[in-house]
């Protein structure tokens, strides 16, 4: 067979495969949106029926231990801890674990919270790297800081769990500033049925400098005008407002985000704590919880709040964004590969038949089809299969299709929470159709890189460089 006849065949075959993939993905997304609409509506109405004033004052409200691992977070750790200590919740403790930071994280904490060395009794139930010193705050007795040898985020969380006094653990990130009602909203899902609800997660919104978020007169956070951050915000909305809300409804919420995940401590201890064998601990632990309970046939639920509970730092440089997203892709691949036995396995119910196939199809295989589509363009052009007008039309179809899903997420968010000011809403809607050309190429590149890293066995965290804070921007933010 000559090259002239082979190339058009390859181009047509690849073209049809990509189209089929796109069509199936569109159907999956559309069905998820359908479920997410009901989930969002019910959650918001449930919250309106709940009496938060009783919950926030009652001594019978379930107490929580908040664990915040920190590694080189000098810039924002203080803002994060301040926001945690300001949570509107009756009984909780905050345990910050300084995981061998090489910058001034510990010094900043000691200065800002007047820490003094302490020696509380604790159980070393989970094995962790060595703890140097424990500090308690003179300003707020609820704050404990553990200074330990670097062992990774999972190790730091396990060290915090060893110190935790309460039955529920809330694992948070120390680069995130939390809303005062974050814990109330999260624990509201646990309270009606603590025996069955073993985990709750939520999501966070993004800003280039979370410690200096600007809010309007109605308390709504103003969207960061940095284009890269705004696109990431849209990405988060799509992921959380409809995808995870829908997963939660069918009890296959497979990713409790590291930025805010509540777990029952007995479940964490029973499963041996967070694992350091994976690049990130959050997705893997969620998979492990599902695997455990479904294997044993015990009733359980992992739920997701569809509303943001805080603001985290989004990368403002392409390099940092690619590094972060490549890591996320790598950890998805690692986890799906590790738990491949659950795929289409009857024992694992919706996790096996909906969650795992979704991850495999929409996450693991995405870079493969994206790379294939890009590769096909020159082949199809050379073989004469592709005509410029059709190519342009297809690009516009994909761009508008993607924008339609983004609009659906924005609509859900705005209809049920009214998070955005009118100007911000317009800004996000204008950006949405340009996603394919301005933002998506970097994400495709990151996903491909993450997949290659996974195949090469890379396990590094690749923490992104914190966004620069100049004296001038600090002053402007203060004003």
């Amino acid at each position: 067979m000559s090259l002239e006849t082979l190339l058009p065949l390859i181009a047509w075959g690849g073209y049809l495969a990509c189209l089929l993939y796109l069509a199936i993905l569109t159907l999956i997304f559309a069905s998820l949106i359908g479920r997410a609409v009901r989930e969002n509506r019910e959650r918001v109405r449930e919250a309106s029926a709940e009496d938060f004033s009783i919950v926030r004052r009652s001594p019978f409200t379930i107490p929580v231990s908040v664990i915040a691992p920190a590694y080189n977070e000098e810039v924002c750790v203080s803002a994060c801890v301040h926001s945690l200590l300001a949570l509107d919740y009756p009984e909780y403790e905050v345990i910050v674990v300084n995981d061998g930071s090489t910058d001034g994280t510990l010094r900043r904490l000691i200065e800002d919270f007047e820490l003094q060395p302490d020696a509380p009794l604790y159980r070393r139930v989970l094995d962790t790297s060595e703890v140097h010193q424990i500090y308690r705050s003179r300003l707020d007795p609820r704050l404990t800081v553990i200074d330990k040898v670097n062992g990774g985020k999972a190790d730091a969380l396990n060290a915090g769990a060893n110190f935790a006094r309460f039955r529920y653990l809330c694992c948070v990130d120390s680069d995130t500033v939390y809303n005062a009602d974050a814990m109330l909203k999260g624990m509201r899902l646990v309270m009606p049925d603590p025996s069955r609800i073993v985990g709750v997660t939520s999501h966070v919104t993004l800003h280039s400098r979370p410690e200096h978020v600007v809010r309007d007169e109605q308390g709504r956070m103003r969207v960061d005008r940095n284009v890269l951050v705004a696109y990431q915000l849209l990405d988060y909305l799509r992921a959380f407002v409809w995808a995870r809300a829908a997963w939660s409804r069918s009890n296959y919420m497979l990713c409790s985000v590291g930025a805010f995940a509540i777990w029952r401590r007995d479940v964490l201890l029973e499963l041996g704590g967070f694992s350091s064998k994976f690049t990130c601990e959050d997705i893997e632990f969620t998979f492990r919880v599902h695997e455990h309970f479904r294997r044993l046939g015990k009733p359980y639920r992992v739920q997701a709040l569809a509303e943001p509970v805080g603001v985290t730092e989004g990368p403002t440089s392409i390099r940092a964004l690619v590094s972060q997203r490549a890591r996320w892709q790598r950890v998805i691949n690692e986890t799906v590969w590790h738990y491949r036995r659950m795929l289409c396995n009857r024992r694992y119910g919706t996790v096996g038949f909906l969650g795992m196939p979704y991850y495999l199809f929409a996450e693991v295989l995405a870079p493969v089809f994206q790379a294939l589509a890009l590769l096909l363009i020159p082949i199809a052009a050379y073989a004469g299969v592709l005509r410029p007008v059709e190519c342009l039309q297809m690009l516009v179809v994909v761009a508008l299709g993607s924008a339609a899903f983004t609009c659906a997420a924005v609509l859900l968010q705005d209809r049920y929470r009214r998070t955005f000011a009118v100007g911000d809403l317009a800004y996000l809607l204008v950006l949405a159709p340009l996603d394919l050309f301005v933002y998506r190429p970097f994400i495709v590149w990151a996903q491909c890189k993450g997949t290659i890293d996974f195949l090469l066995g890379d396990r590094r965290w690749n923490k992104f460089e914190r966004n620069p804070r100049t004296v001038l921007t600090e002053r402007l933010a203060t004003k």
Binding site: E42, R45, E46, S48, A49, E50, D51, I54, V55, R57, S58, P59, F60, T61, I62, Q116, P117, D118, A119, P120, L121, R123, Q133, I134, M191, P192, D193, P194, R387, V389, E390, Q393, M394, V396, V397, L400, G401, A403, A404, C407, A408, V410, L411, D414, R415, R418, V422, L425, L429, P433
Partner: protein
């Protein structure tokens, strides 16, 4: 092919545009609704609760759901009753919805308006909602009953707690937050046979300072169910007196650690020398939770406990000795001893076997925490004045 792609393009563009318009229209109607509601609320606040015709005119422009939202945001009590009554007169649909004929949300709004209007059948509707088995109806009912805050609403909540029709901790929280006298109504809970109910009976009695149930709580302290024993000793901690010490001390040897821990914490108000000895013995308990509770209680007792705690520095159990050191650190006993030595440093050489032992048995972090309070020079002076740790007890 071109026409197929073009057709798909038209469809996708249409969906995208429709969603954009939907978002814009939805936001526009929302802002309009909010501003209209705000105007009506301002008019409500300017109107006197006695001006029924003016109230009726305002209420006629509101839906039940909108009035519900206004009530939720808060109105002065007299105005709330007047407005809700005006709505009740206007809408026969309220009773229809309150019976559950409409959606769950219509039912909640209707019952809330009827409750605000002090309608006769409000308790009947609320009780049905509470027992409906639908979580959101249960949560709304608890919220309304707690807000009504009458003995009748407390009675409904207490009965619901006994029957376990909704999360017991949530119902108990609502009962706890009410202000109407309700301690005498806890008998419904104390008569129950179910351990879960007895647990909440004791917890609530402790919180409500219901001394009339003290003798029943004493009985519960020896119940078969450990959770009930735990709640009972906890309640005795706030309701009991020195005559309960024997009972609390007996619970300190309970077979379950969390009962022992709560018994240890409960006697902080009236601990005598004998109890302090028992608490010191618990510093070497086989369970960490009990040791921590004993340590915290001894630290809270403070000065009266210090002689026994100092003796415990020589305890053969290293955890007990370390806990004793921690209590001395937390209560300032160790710092006081150090200060005495430092103040006397210029004079005769002063020994403190207690402090020497403290530094010997304290875990490295505790030792660092203690010495961290002193300057390097003071640390040197202090260490120079201390005999090795083998000194006899003070």
């Amino acid at each position: 092919m071109t026409s197929l792609v073009a057709s798909v393009l038209y469809v996708v563009a249409f969906v995208w545009l429709k969603l954009m318009l939907w978002i814009a229209a939805d936001r526009y109607w929302y802002e309009r609704r909010i501003s209209r509601l705000s105007v009506l609320k301002q008019r409500l606040h300017r109107t006197s609760p006695g001006d029924l015709s003016a109230l009726r005119a305002i209420v006629s422009q509101l839906t039940v759901a909108q009035l519900d939202a206004v009530i939720l945001e808060g109105l002065p009590p007299a105005m709330e009753i007047a407005v809700a009554t005006a709505m009740q007169e206007r809408s026969s649909k309220l009773l229809h919805d309150a019976r559950g004929a409409g959606s769950v949300w219509q039912r909640i709004s209707a019952v809330r308006v009827l409750s605000a209007a002090r309608a006769e059948r409000r308790y009947e509707f609320l009780d049905k909602m509470l027992r409906s088995g639908t979580p959101v109806l249960g949560a709304a009912s608890i919220r309304i009953l707690a807000k009504i805050d009458t003995r009748q609403s407390a009675d409904l909540l207490i009965k619901a707690l006994r029957e376990g029709v909704y999360s017991r901790s949530r119902i108990a929280a609502a009962i706890d937050m009410m202000s109407v006298p309700r301690a005498d109504m806890l008998g419904t809970l104390f008569d129950a046979a179910e351990a879960d109910v007895l647990f909440w009976a004791a917890k609530l009695a402790g919180r409500l300072n219901a001394r009339e149930w003290t003798s029943r709580i004493r009985q519960l302290a020896t119940e078969a169910d450990p959770r009930v024993r735990r709640a009972a000793v906890e309640a005795l901690g706030s309701l009991g007196d020195a005559t309960d010490l024997a009972l609390l001390v007996s619970r300190m040897s309970d077979r379950l650690p969390f009962v022992r821990a709560h018994a240890a914490r409960a006697c902080v108000r009236f601990a005598d020398a004998e109890t302090i000895e028992t608490l010191v013995a618990l510093l070497a308990d086989r369970h960490w939770m009990v040791r921590a509770a004993a340590r915290d209680t001894l630290a809270r007792i403070g000065t009266p406990a210090l002689p026994a705690v100092k003796q415990a520095l020589w305890h053969s159990d290293r955890f007990a000795a370390d806990s004793a050191a921690e209590i001395l650190h937390r209560t300032g006993g160790a710092a006081d001893a150090a200060r005495q030595i430092l103040e006397d440093a210029g004079g005769a050489r002063r020994q403190s076997p207690m402090l020497a032992r403290f530094l010997a048995v304290a875990a490295p972090n505790l030792r660092a925490a203690f010495l961290g309070q002193l300057s390097v020079r003071e640390q040197r002076t202090l260490m120079g004045h201390l005999e090795p740790a083998s000194g006899a007890a003070e």
